[in-house]
Amino acid sequence: MPSKQSPRLTAFYYFAWLVAVVALLGIFAAGGLERPARTTGETPAAKAPAASAAAPSPYMPVTSIPPFDADRADYILLAWSTQGMQMVTDAEPRWTMLPPEAALRAQLVRRGPGPAPVTEGVRITWRVEREHATLEGAPVSGAAGEMKLEQGGSTFAADGIGIMPYRASGGFNAYPTVTVEAHDDEGRLLARTSAVLPVSTEVGCRNCHGGAWKRDGLAGISPATADDVLTVHDRINGTDLVAQAAKAPVECRSCHSGAPEAPAPSLSAALHGWHANYMTDGGAETCASCHPSSPQGATRFMRGLHKAKALDCTRCHGAMEDHALSLLRWEEKAGRKSAARLARELKPRAVSAVDDINPRAPWAMEPDCTGCHDFAQKPATATASAFNKWTASEKDRFSARADDMGNLRCPTCHGAAHAEYPAENPFGRDLDNMPPIQYQQHAKVMGGGNNCSVCHREPLPMEASAHHPVVIRKTIPITLPAGTVLTKPAVLFPHDTHGSMDCGTCHHKGYQEGKQTCATKGCHDRPRPDTIEGLGEVGYFRNAFHGKERGCMTCHLALREKGKAAGPVGCRDCHTPGNNQ
């Protein structure tokens, strides 16, 4: 092998090799050095996006309930919003998904005996109470309007009300109130009532897409957030929405129309179907990531009787995966292949197989009330669920249903969805309960608690109600000590609904001769004492139920604190006037 080599080439090889050796040793030296850890702990940003202020809107005591003369008034006017909360995406100028189009309904009842809804010779109008922004170009602009009678029914409707939750003077209010009035043809006022027309722009895209809230640090979709949504959409789907948005707001529904011939899935199926893959294993907090139901938010729209019974979104609508699957199954039935891809990795939560989830069309097929309510007995609050039990069509939805006589719509008496009477509105006590409070001074279903006379002007047995079978709870009267003077209606106690509790919880001294009543001699057997000190004594009869450590109120309040299903805490809920009948 040794032969003549060029000296220059030799020198080149030598130096090149030396450089390589030095470089290798240098890498070893660099690698051998100790390196401190980059970060050691949390930075402030590594927390969930800042919760909204505890009370973002000023707490609004209700002062505007119109008066009602129970003896002389001939009419009852009841009004409600169809959705209980209208969700608006305030993402202009980038895109429009859910424009403001609130819907108001009202029914005018001529009081009885033999009450009936009034459809002729009357004019029903609505008017927004406090100044709110309304959207120009919505079907109904401005802060007032007239309601039209629905075809073939007795309900007056106003749709497409472009109300927004922003006051012209500044601030956010998801619960603007409307005053609804009924005038006869001569212009005489027949009845007036107040109701909320809830609307919120607290749509939480920013929770994942970043960016700040658009308005007041509480609501609205800022351009940064809106841009990220479009950017992601473009990247995933090969669209050019970012470029389009630079010229005019993109209308999501232009592609996601839900029409059979549209290539893209319906808006609801696309949104839920896509995002369900990114938001699994959650409960109602997943819903609150986008919908205005966050318990720390400025809307908190889940506020009705169902909430008091510790139901959350998932009990009726299903967990996110199930919710998405029901929509996607409908899309697959409609022949849209993209739905299969979205559904592929979703694992059903409430059922074992995807095929067990019933397909549902968005907005038309909603959880059916009869999924829990069979009108024979009260639903079991711990387990009742209307998930997978969809209405056959939009006519069977809660907001469209009527009673067995076909006269009164369900929300007319029961209140709007998500705000069933009694609703607890976090931003104004009884904001949602204005109609029943106006007419019966009790936040409860109209006529509830044996109060049929509010419309019928005569006492009637609830068991004979022609509206729908009423489940009467079996109750037992509470034995009072001798000498008790009743200042409120006596309480009828539903013993059976407390059957799952340990008997000793209430019968805490056990049983004597097989019975133990509260007013047993030696227990809570004294009527109202004369002294103030005596009011706190255990022997005082009232303290068996309103005591500090034990009692109906004590227990109910504690359960409510924990967010569990609890019994009533309002005075009239136990001391119901009808009890005296």
Partner: protein, 354 residues
């Protein structure tokens, strides 16, 4: 944290363990002999380059030109033992490799640059002038560094209790320096290489003596001298290595385990034989005894490995049987070896114009 919980599960093998142990041992011995030739040979060449001027490099000059070829074969023959050690002990070996990943990956660069260094030394020897000393010394250091890295990995893989150090330093820069057997083991390998390198030098010159090359006798003499001195040093290092072992493992070779003890005794006999043969200037006998000793030492090494790993017994997965792939391998080995022999014969016999 329990070291035992850190040991990954072993994968199933396509055959019984004893079969792969045999393959591992045989191929490792071949690799060892060639690697020793290169490493030891480079030591000898480097020392000669340092000590003597260029004009007196006779005996080692031509030997040095064979080193790159020897390295090529050493690397190639390193592949099967690396393969079989992964089949048998992969769960230990990969782990220790990751723990010292920086150095382990570094051997690729070390070996490649040593290889190029040996080629530059061989091809451009005269043109380099005195720079050739830097080249051969650096190449030697690169090879020595490689051997050190290997000793670290081979000892670390056997001691899961030392793996816990990874939790303090995860960037692959750890070594097994805390192990008292590391240095004596490594030096034993290193000096053993020098011994074998010396024999290789002698063997090289035996062939050249057959056609009357002038410095052949000196070459044989030089090689045997290196061999003898290195082997004396080996005896001392071997004792040090043995005593540095944990007591129960040391006793394995002194009656604790039959195979290990027999191998030890045979190894001592072989060493003595080789030294005597060297004294008697019988290169063939010395080479034969040395190869035998190296083989027996490899058996000892395998037994030592078994002893280290015994407390860490793992659930063995059920091995599956695959005959046809084995047949493929054996058939290719037979054909391959046959072709190699044919080519080498051809090279010797075929003459241009004949």
């Amino acid at each position: 944290m329990e070291p035992a919980s850190l040991i990954p599960l072993a994968d199933a093998m396509p055959g019984p363990a004893w079969w792969f142990e045999i393959l591992l041992l045989l191929t490792f011995v071949l690799h060892l002999l060639l690697m020793n030739t290169v490493l030891g040979g480079t030591v000898i060449v480097a020392v000669h380059a340092l000590r003597k001027p260029a004009s007196e490099q006779g005996p080692v000059r031509d030997f040095a030109t064979r080193l790159p070829t020897a390295l090529a074969l050493a690397i190639n023959l390193g592949v099967p033992p690396l393969l079989f050690v992964q089949v048998l002990y992969g769960n230990f070996f990969y782990t220790s490799s990751v723990i010292m990943a920086l150095w382990w990956l570094g051997i690729v660069g070390l070996v490649m640059l040593a290889y190029y260094g040996l080629y530059i030394f061989a091809i451009n020897h005269d043109e380099l002038g005195t720079r050739r000393i830097a080249v051969i010394v650096l190449a030697l250091l690169l090879l020595v560094a490689t051997s050190f890295v290997f000793s670290n990995n081979m000892t670390l893989m056997l001691q899961p209790e030392r793996w816990l150090a990874w939790f303090e330093r995860r960037d692959g820069a750890l070594l097994n320096l805390g192990d008292p057997t590391l240095i004596p083991r490594w030096l034993h390998m290193l000096v053993g290489s020098i011994a074998i390198g010396g024999l290789a030098l002698s063997l090289f010159h035996v062939r050249r003596a057959s056609w009357g090359a002038p410095d052949a006798a000196e070459g044989i003499e030089t090689g045997l001298r290196w061999f003898s001195h290195a082997t004396y040093a080996q005896i001392a290092l071997g004792i040090w290595f043995l005593m540095a072992l944990p007591r129960d493992l040391m006793l394995r070779f002194m009656g604790g385990d039959t195979l290990a003890t027999a191998a030890f005794i045979l190894g001592l006999i072989g060493t003595a034989l080789a030294l005597l043969a060297a004294r008697a200037r019988s290169v063939a006998l010395a080479v034969g005894a040395a190869v035998g000793t190296v083989t027996v030492m490899a058996v000892m090494r395998a037994s030592l490995r078994e002893g280290y790993l015994a407390p860490w017994a793992q659930p063995q997965p059920v091995n599956f049987v695959e005959t046809s792939p084995l047949v493929l391998f054996l058939a290719s080995a037979v054909c391959g070896v046959a072709a190699i022999i044919w080519m080498l014969r051809l090279m010797r016999s075929s003459r241009k114009g004949a």
